[in-house]
């Protein structure tokens, strides 16, 4: 069953919520959806799964960008509701007609919604039944049906308005409901004709031309996702516009189109995606981002559809939003907080081989030292030859104590002892160096997971090189995945922050920063940009965005 259906503005005001469904939602799925999905530029995704104690919901949503409305449907995960997409599309269409920015109360939408829901449920029911219909005849009937649909669509609007007016009278409610709904169980097919019949008189023509089986095929078409339908309609209208001749098309290009459609966006989005990819953004990320931006633009009223339009506004906003850290990245503040609790602040550096973990650990140590914080290093790379010696050299040069136990020891134990040692020495920060590991190396990943689980560090820093392209996605997602899978406790620690190394070698190909932040949701806390101890910077969001869109 549908748990809840909400309509709210992008500003956050709920305009309408289905009272009949009225089940109190457990947790706050809507807020979580907005915070962790829609605001993270993941709105191109199909659905969002929400987990809370005692609840497992799936959420689907659609935007009306021109009016700034969001429609969200919530339903139980275990139920695969086929009609949700369609229902959302219908609700969107109906609601946008009565929407008025000045108005905040839409109680009369209850009745319309009830009707729409039944319609959608019935269609889903029919879809199940009609699945046996052979595909061959479907293709033949397709075009004609589309025409019917198109014609019907034109006729529909005034109809629905009229019906809405009649629905506004509350006393008619029960009778109307009964007549419609007693019919359904008896004859599913007849039931389906209802919505079409409402649209116009076309239904008789259809029946006469194609006989009985037509009905099913029509259903197959219409119960396909609404998006597809919209696309078809868009395609159909294209040749028509061509026929209008050069004058009207000229006029259109001067005056601009009223609303942006997906087809208008496509060329510009493709160019944008290509540009992002030349800046070394992983392909997958570029694709998702463009989808998300498209979702936020579709249906908006604009004067000119031009490539620059995306660059300057929507995309830039999206990029700034992604790169702006979600939480504070003031490490010094956290160190002081830990100090008050008389605990050392533990930072674990993780990453694949050769990205510069040890070097940048030394840089971070130097930076902390500059701020009068006592630092200790822990050499937990007990795997690669020479790793301990390398760290020891850094420690000697910076005059920082180092905790080491040689090779062939369990790094988790070494780290634990190091933290105990730091507590004794009243060191404020412990920097834990770990062995580099490929994301697919299971024994090593298991060891890392154990290290993190055992020592509960305050910060897990993923060290990644800015040179990486498509592999960034794989590295980070696999690291997170493995850390989650292989850990013993249910609430696992994932990556808290990113240290981007070799930033001085990449010129304008800064895409790795975007890819990594998008994948993990963790902020870039440091940027390594050179060979000496002082070459550690903060990420400058504005300049990155500028470079990406250059």
């Amino acid at each position: 069953m549908l748990e809840q259906l909400l309509i709210f503005t992008r500003g956050g005001l709920i305009l309408w919520a289905c009272k009949e469904l009225g089940n109190a939602l457990k947790g706050s799925p809507i807020d979580t959806l907005i915070r962790s999905c829609l605001l993270e530029e993941r709105s191109g995704a199909e659905l969002y799964n929400y987990d809370a104690p005692g609840a497992a919901y799936t959420l689907k949503w659609t935007f009306h960008n021109d009016l700034g409305l969001v429609f969200v449907a919530v339903f139980q995960r275990i139920l695969h509701l086929l009609y949700v997409d369609e229902l959302l599309a219908m609700v969107k269409r109906e609601f946008s007609e009565i929407y008025d920015p000045k108005r905040t109360l839409y109680t009369n939408f209850d009745e319309t919604f009830r009707q729409l829901k039944k319609e959608a449920e019935a269609r889903a029911e029919d879809l199940k039944k009609s699945k046996q219909v052979d595909a061959s005849s479907r293709a033949g009937a397709f075009d004609l049906n589309k025409l019917q649909k198109l014609r019907a669509k034109g006729a529909k609007k005034p109809e629905t308005v009229v019906s809405k007016v009649s629905k506004a009278e509350p006393k008619k409610k029960p009778t109307k409901k009964n007549t419609v709904w007693d019919d359904t169980p008896r004859q599913a097919k007849l039931d389906y004709t209802d919505p079409v019949g409402e649209n116009g008189d076309n239904i008789e023509v259809v029946a006469a031309d194609h006989g009985e089986s037509m009905m099913d095929k029509e259903e197959v078409f219409s119960s396909d996702s609404e998006a597809e339908e919209a696309e078809e309609v868009g395609k159909d209208s294209k040749p028509e516009t061509k026929k209008k001749g050069w004058f009207s098309s000229m006029f259109q290009s001067i005056a601009g189109k009223a609303n942006l459609e997906k087809s208008d966006l496509e060329p510009a989005l493709k160019a944008l995606k290509d540009r992002l990819m030349t800046k070394n953004v992983a392909e997958e990320i570029a694709e998702k981002l463009c989808e998300s931006v498209a979702a936020s633009l579709e249906g908006k009223e604009v004067g000119f559809v031009h490539e620059d339009f995306f660059d300057s506004t929507a995309m830039e906003e999206a990029l700034v939003r992604i790169l702006t850290p979600r939480r504070s990245i003031d490490i010094l503040r956290d160190v002081h907080a830990a100090k008050e609790q008389r605990k050392p602040y533990v930072v674990v550096f993780v990453g694949v081989n050769g990205v510069g973990k040890s070097t940048n650990l030394a840089k971070v140590a130097y930076w902390l030292q500059q701020h009068n914080i006592s630092v200790m290093m822990a050499a937990c790379d007990t795997f690669r030859s020479g790793a301990v010696e390398q760290l020891r050299t850094h420690a000697r040069r910076l005059q920082i104590p180092i905790f080491e136990k040689g090779y062939e020891k369990d790094p988790a134990i070494v780290a634990k002892e190091a933290i105990q040692e730091a507590t004794r020495n009243v060191s404020e920060v412990v920097l834990v160096d770990t062995a580099g590991r490929m994301q697919d190396n299971e024994p090593l990943m298991r060891a890392l997971s154990k290290l993190i689980y055992l020592n509960k560090p305050d910060l897990v820093l993923f060290v990644g090189e800015a040179l990486v392209g498509n592999d960034a996605v794989d590295q980070l997602s696999k690291f997170e995945q493995k850390l989650a899978d292989l850990s013993a406790s249910p609430n696992t620690r994932l990556i808290d922050g990113i240290l981007l190394t070799k930033f001085d070698t990449i010129d304008d190909k800064v895409g790795a920063a975007l890819s990594m932040v998008y994948i993990s949701g963790a902020p870039v806390m440091f940027v390594g940009c050179g060979q000496s101890y002082t070459d550690l910077k903060k990420l400058n969001v504005k300049s990155i965005v500028k470079t990406l869109l250059k």
Partner: protein
Amino acid sequence: MEGTEEWKTQLEAWKNQLEKWLNQGIEYSQQIPPIQLYAAITILLFTTLLLLLIRVFKRVKSSTIVLTGLSGSGKTVIFYQLRDGSSHEGTVTSMEPNEDTFVLHSETAKRAKIKPVHLVDVPGHARLRPKLDEFLPQAAGIVFVVDAVEFLLNCRAASEYLYDILTKASVVKKKIPVLILCNKTDKVTAHSKEFIRKQMEKEIDKLRASRSAISEADIANDFTLGVAGEAFSFSHCYNKVTVAEASGLTGEISQVEQFIREYIKP
């Protein structure tokens, strides 16, 4: 040669014509009594001065109040309480700022002409914070909403956000007054405003230490807060910082209205 000659004679003719008009004008002005002339000049000067003054005056007195605070503290509810006197069907996390110019709902009953308020509700989600910078330069007042029920959980985040706002150049230079609004006081478990003020002062005191330690290149904040060597208190701020209580859900928002009307005279 001939062309230039012709040209010269024509120029001469124009010159004569102009001189004639000028003389006529002077003669005419001499006919007018000097008092009238002076009067005209003073009127002209006076009106231009007045127009300039009005412009300057208008620029100083903006009527924008910015509602800000962490996500989930109840900004949007307060926005609609101020505008419509009701929280409608409830709210969810905002994705975009709410912005409107209106006469406060509690004042709509009055017949007199009241200056409308331009109220902006900026989302509190960290990803949307850059939006705040767009509105701060024109603000006449900032209302920083704090969730008084879940205060201890959010104390650090809220203080950090407030610290960022209090040290912004646009806020400090114009001395924009800040109201710390403890929302949700209708709940039994809500903390008192005094407690919240003290906790935030403590937290900002710590922040001051850690932020000033960050090297010059990192500094995003433009000013340091308070008096060095003394525990931080909101009274040390360049701008006026006050604390008030409200409850968005029950519509108990008189203290916000008071704050707004203090800085935007009706």
